[in-house]
Each structure stands twice: as C-alpha cells, then as structure tokens.
Symmetry: C2
Subunit: 291 residues, 2 copies
C-alpha cells in the first residue's frame, strides 16, 4: 500500500498528456484505473478524472461542477439510483473540510488520451436532483492559483504532508511550505468549533463540520509567521475575516479584544499556543491608530 500523495506528483508538469488510464495509474497521477475519484473517506480525495461521462458535469476551466460517484448503470452509464455521501463522495467532501488540493485530469475525448491540468480546491458541495431525476452530489472545485504551485516534495513520513508555494518571480521570490497535517490537527482538536465564538457550523452529511485554520502571525513576507499549530487558531469564517483584518485581536491574558463584550479565547491544554504570536498580531497588525 503506497502513501496517498496530496498535491503535484514530483516530475509531472501541469499539461502533461497521457495515452490511457493505465498510464495515469503508472505515473501515480490517478491511482485507480476505473473510478473517477480516488481517495479515502477518512483522509480526503487526492485526484479526480473528468471523463465527460456524467451528464450533469460542468466544466468552466478554472471552475468545475463535478458530479459524485454512484447510482449509474454499469452498462449504459445512465443514472438509475440516488447517490450517497459515502466513500469517494465523502472523500471529496473531506477535501473541502481539510483544505486539501485535488489533482484534476481531463479526458481529451474518446481515444485521445488525458491531460493533467493541475490542482484544484473543493470550495463547496451539496446534493440536488440530477437530469435523470435522481439525487446526485455535486462538488464545486476552483483552480489553485498558478503561483501556488503545490508539490508534495518532502520525503513522506507518516502523515507529514507538505505543500510548497513557490512565488512566480516578478518582484519577490517566495516559498512558503504549507503543512496539510496541521490544518487537520487544529480543526480536529477543537472539533471544528470556533475558538472565539464556539460556533460549530454543521454541513450536510453525517458529522461533517466547517471551520477554517487561521494563522496568527501571517505566513509569508514580511511577517514570516511559522506554519505550526502553535501559530494557528480554529475559527469560523466570520472571525477569520476579522482576525486577518486586525479588527479583533487577543491580549496576553487570552482576552478577545475589538468585540463588544470582551471574553476569553478558548484554548485547550493540548494546544501549545505561543503568546508571542498573539502579541505580534496585536502590535503589528491590529494596533489602534488615528484614522
């Protein structure tokens, strides 16, 4: 059993063409010769192939509305039953929840092979009635930024999966490593509850929730905050916007400031949050000033 790779496969450029599903398999781009989605419902999905086989699929290039797996007649390919949010479909939902990149490969037409088109993020999923009248699951994928060239370039050890983001050199060259395991760790530690307001946003599906992994001292220049759990918070989208903007901040007693009724940040014992990063954010991003 090989380790599942999230992100680019080293040595395979975006735009590379492949003659067949076998070739995609051999090069580790898509590790299943028949299924459109590869992944595990516990880990997330790492790759999809768009074959044009689903009547409900929509492909706008940078945005894809992808139809989930299941409920189709093996011979005709027609939808004959409802799809369930299980297995590969659940894996794609997990890719949204854990902010994992998904490799996208497109069929170039019957007998014309396949092209690896790079990485996408799952931005939303929902269910609806497909053209055939049965329930289908739908996944909205957005292309990752061109300059966020994500590769899994570290020797893979256990779940230590990294993303590296080399800047397209224009004025500045930058390379930021994103550690996917930390995103999952902070969200699971807090059970997807916002550390500021304690809200837990429940998505469709069994035990699926939405939260965001926020950095306190920002990544990248000029702040160069570390991509470590000790510099991260589990936040709802609302409080993520306000933290990044500096409209709210946390003082060194863990009191949340900038809100009407200051209250304490929820911090669990297992979360080795560094106060120095809270102070940096307060002093360098969130400081009050004359407008």
């Amino acid at each position: 059993m090989t380790q599942r790779i999230f992100g680019h496969i080293p040595g395979i450029d975006v735009g590379t063409k492949f003659s067949s599903r076998d070739a995609l398999y051999d090069k580790k781009i898509h590790m299943n010769k028949r299924a459109g989605i590869t992944g595990a419902q516990s880990e997330g999905a790492d790759s999809i192939v768009i074959s044009g086989g689903y009547e409900d699929d929509e492909d706008y290039g940078d945005i894809i509305i992808y139809t989930g797996h299941g409920g189709r007649d093996e011979n005709t390919g027609k939808q004959i039953a409802d799809q369930l949010l299980k297995r590969q479909n659940l894996a794609l939902a997990k890719s949204m929840i854990f902010e994992l990149p998904v490799r996208v490969t497109r069929s170039l037409g019957k007998g014309k092979g396949y092209r690896y088109d790079g990485l996408y993020y799952v931005k939303n999923y929902w269910n609806e009635r497909g053209k055939a009248g049965y329930i289908i699951w739908r996944f909205e994928l957005h292309k990752a930024m061109d300059n966020l060239e994500i590769i899994d370039d570290t020797p893979v050890q256990e779940s230590d999966i990294s993303i590296s983001i080399p800047g397209r050199t224009i004025v500045t060259t930058s390379r930021i490593k994103r550690k996917l395991k930390n995103i999952r760790e902070i969200k699971e530690l807090y059970d997807f509850k916002c550390q500021i307001c304690n809200i837990q946003l429940k998505l469709k599906g069994d035990n699926l929730f939405y939260a965001e992994a926020a950095h306190i001292k920002p990544l990248g220049k000029p702040h160069n905050g570390p991509d470590e759990v000790n510099n991260m918070l589990c936040l709802c989208p609302n409080h993520h916007v306000l933290l990044d903007n500096g409209a709210i901040w946390i003082d060194s007693n863990l009191k949340i400031m900038g809100i009407t009724k200051p209250k304490l940040l929820t911090v669990l014992d297992d979360h080795k949050l560094k106060i120095e990063f809270l102070n940096y954010h307060k002093n360098e991003i969130a400081f009050e000033l004359e407008l």
Copy 2:
C-alpha cells in the same frame, strides 16, 4: 467627467503593453497620470499601477500585497509619515466591501513601459508598520479566475455596471452577467447585517463593515438563478457557507430551518424577495435525504 469603468476596458486585451503613463491614461486603463490608485472613496477603486516604487510592496504574480497611498517624500519617495485610510486607500477598501474588480497594470522597469495584467479582487486589507517605521495600509489582491473574464460590456447607464463571465469552452459554454450594483444595493439595504443572525462584522476603519451577497437560486447552469436583488440575501460568511451547502434553508413563512432554534429571516419592506427562489433552494438544494 467620464463614468468610472469597473472591469476590463473594451478592446484592451490582458497582456497589452503601453509605452507610458500617458498611454495608460489615453486608453482609459488608468485615469491618473501620477497616482498608483484610481478610484473614489464612495465608489471603490477601479485600477492600480504597480511601479515597484514602494519598498513594502510584494508581488507574487497571482497574489499581490499592495501598499496604500500617502506619507512619502515627493522627491525621495521615502516613507516619512503614517498613511491614512482615506481617499484612494479607502477606495481600495471599498473595492473589497463591494466585491469590485480592480485593473492591475505593472511597470516593466524604468523606461520599459507598462503591461495591463487583468483583473484582481481585494481579499483583505489591514495596517502595519512598514520598513521605514511608519504605518502603512496593505491590500491583498487575488487574480480573478482566467475564465471569469470580466468586461464592462454594457452601455453604461447611471450605475448599471455589469460583469460578464464567459466560460472557457471545454465542455460547457456559459456566460453569466454579474450586476455589480446589486451587490452594493443588497449590502447597503441591510447595513451589512446578516439577514439570518443579524451580526454586523466591523472592519478596521470608520464605518466599514463586511458582509457577502448570496444568491438563493444559484447562478449558472443548471439552476440559472437570476442575478437580481429579489434572488439575493445579505449574509455573514458563516451563513453564506451554510446556505450554499444546503445545510440551512428558508421555508415559505420565512422561517430559517436547519438551525437549532428556528427563527424568522429578517426581510425589509424594500427588499422584494421572491418566495419562489426560497422554495427552489429548499426543494432542489437543501432537501433532506437518507445519507
């Protein structure tokens, strides 16, 4: 006084080069021969030029951390005073708040001219201490998706400004018109308060708030919901995620369902919300099902 155009200038392709700031002005790409930002603090900013003149600017290609205007010595270009969130800086903040596209033009180096690089969206702004020790305002811009080719292709009448989104033809061709004025209208009507939870997210600055314009019956195929205020809600990011996912829905009595304690949606008399769109969302996106 000509009408300010948000989006592409008709007839000017992305990648077009210009010999000088005068040429950018003549072709209406950037309607000020000296300032880096054009816009009005009431309307938003429509264009920036990246000249490489600010020591704190960072350009990663698809993501730009742009430094605001002001506080520099006219002769040396050095930062000698704090920047304020006023005039062009406030205009850029408004571009985030009203979800307006900003034209980006880059200098190709001293004496080498300029290149129009297309549209970006302001995703965040904040203030920090720049390298020179003074307060600077910073704006994070993200490149608009390649296939979201935004052009202001309508005869401009009053504030009826549109975006059109032609799909890059791969499987599906699609063209969705986004009406920028409706985004602003719905947010201002509700004073940036979420119609579900009534939260009003205050950003840094005087009287600046963050909310999102959400469509009830989704835009684009297969739903083809209209881009009209009667199909829109003013929501906080949290409830926007849940509405799009179908985890919450609104019944025909305007009761919000899918939350622990169902309560009524806030709807003002001036908002001619169409119940048919709420019913469509409930029946086609949010329906309960066996998982």
